[in-house]
Symmetry: C2
Subunit: 309 residues, 2 copies
């Protein structure tokens, strides 16, 4: 069974942690959001690719959900002491990834090739693809103007009114090599429990990816990142409301309506069954929290079971 996952960061990493216990690694492709990418201290940082790769390499700080375990932040602190911005926490181990990636990009390698090379060096068996090799940036419009995603998410701790979210560069961005094929040839496309607006949104904004999801003979299943009316973490609920989506599992079905076959929602949201169905997806209910690897494995299994039914 070939499985392609559309992934943001933390939530997707948890799901992937379970998936690799259920499906052979060689059958898994993870297409990752690059709208969060940023230039930081002159280095190209791809936070979601790193979170997914660190997870698959066994390097992720699982407690925190991002960055590397046993990390230190001495360079960041020295940058701060030097009067340079230090609000985006790049760790000392983490820096090696950004230095390597930046060097390869400067040498002319596309992001997808650099990601392949990182996966090779980290012995990561599943295929990890950026949604696009082209420049794509999630821009958040706030009261005082436009800010980059990390400025909104990290520096401002996603506080403050958001008036709009757009994906700079999306109109001309092409899917990275392998992205469309991996969707077209998948038995299942799983949209991980990530923020529909700012994690999955940038992936869908890349030309042809939405169409490929609509055309794939495989089944498309999403796992809700929302229980009741609240996101597991982060601003997904507020951003969905801003986009006119209901802040519930129903809104998730709405967000993916053109191509979604099945929505996995939390058992506590069973009352939303008919609304989810009205939004075009077959609802399935289970405990969608992933507190540990065993729960992630169970959720991965149930996700694949749900589309097999």
């Amino acid at each position: 069974m070939r499985v392609t996952v559309l992934a943001g960061g933390t939530g997707a990493a948890k799901f992937v942690r379970g998936l690799v216990r259920v499906v052979p690694a060689s059958e898994i492709t993870v297409i990752v959001n690059t709208g969060d990418d940023l230039e930081w201290w002159g280095l190209h940082v791809s936070p979601d690719i790193d979170t997914i790769c660190y997870e698959l390499a066994g390097l992720l700080d699982v407690e925190r959900g991002w960055g590397r375990r046993e990390e230190t932040f001495r360079c960041r602190d020295a940058m701060g002491a030097l009067g340079e911005p230090a609000w985006f926490s790049v760790g000392d181990l983490d820096l090696s990834t950004h230095l390597f990636r930046t060097g390869q990009l400067r040498a002319g390698e596309p992001l997808s090739s650099v990601t392949v090379e990182l996966c090779r060096r980290w012995n990561i068996a599943p295929r990890v693809l950026p949604a696009t090799d082209d420049r794509l940036r999630t821009i958040v419009t706030m009261d005082d103007g436009d800010v980059g995603f990390q400025e909104f998410f990290v520096r401002r701790r996603h506080q403050g009114a958001v008036h709009a979210v757009r994906f700079e560069g999306a109109a001309s961005a092409k899917p990275a090599p392998g992205v469309i094929d991996s969707i077209a040839s998948a038995d299942a496309v799983v949209i991980a429990p990530s923020n529909p607006v700012t994690s999955v949104g940038p992936i869908l904004a890349v030309s042809d990816i939405g169409a490929a999801l609509g055309a794939t003979p495989g089944r498309v299943v999403a796992i809700s990142p929302i229980i009741g009316t609240a996101a597991f973490s982060g601003p997904a609920d507020r951003l969905m409301a801003m986009r006119g989506l209901r802040t519930s599992a129903v809104g998730v079905a709405e967000a993916y309506r053109p191509f979604l076959d099945v929505l996995l929602a939390d058992s506590s949201d069973h009352a939303l069954a008919s609304e989810i169905e009205a939004a075009g997806a077959k609802p399935c209910f289970t405990d969608i929290r992933m507190r540990d690897a065993a729960q992630a494995e169970r959720l991965a299994r149930e996700t694949l079971d749900a589309i097999a039914r």
Copy 2:
């Protein structure tokens, strides 16, 4: 009394440690070798500028003679684990300097301006100038071909036959702003106890610097980096021999013959007095080892006394 120092790394840092205890910081200019500079992990590293600045900022690892105190090397180790070169030891704190410098250089700032800015942020009062803002690289010809200075010095631990040393870019390199003025207006120009070939050599290879030393009304004094026939540290003795210089304090006087007024040599080399004189410099003898700040201070005082006489 205005003092300008020609400086390499470790030995020069020791001398400067003493000098700032003897002369007001505002009267001191340090002109630093940039032939050791390298691109490492895509960052511009200026090892000698960093050693001098870390010393003046109180950040230097005095025991080791380079890098920052309380340093860690976690990023370097992670780079090594990733299969990237890790033989040049960039520390986690040290990385902040290289990231900042590289960012400023990429934004179009010359190295001298970046150095001024680093000094400002570190509250360094003496003026620190790179010998040149232009690209200058010390290249060492060995049995298997040409290697960069750090490849020779660090990676190969200065082992192996050296057939030639040249300074790539020197022919077209111009002195950085302030360099010629600081020599012309100095009461004393002190050539620190650095390697005459690979630390002071690149400075002298920059056009007009040698001529400025010859023309300055101030006195030019050098401190020998050699006692007997052995360098304090590093390959100065072997490189001097390769250049046809005697491997003793006499060879140091020879190396600086066109402009040297006074040579400070170790008391144990007193027998070389007439040979030093024959090489064109007035010899002065004292204990030239600097084991601690007090000895460095004494040596700085005796250096200035020697030219006052």
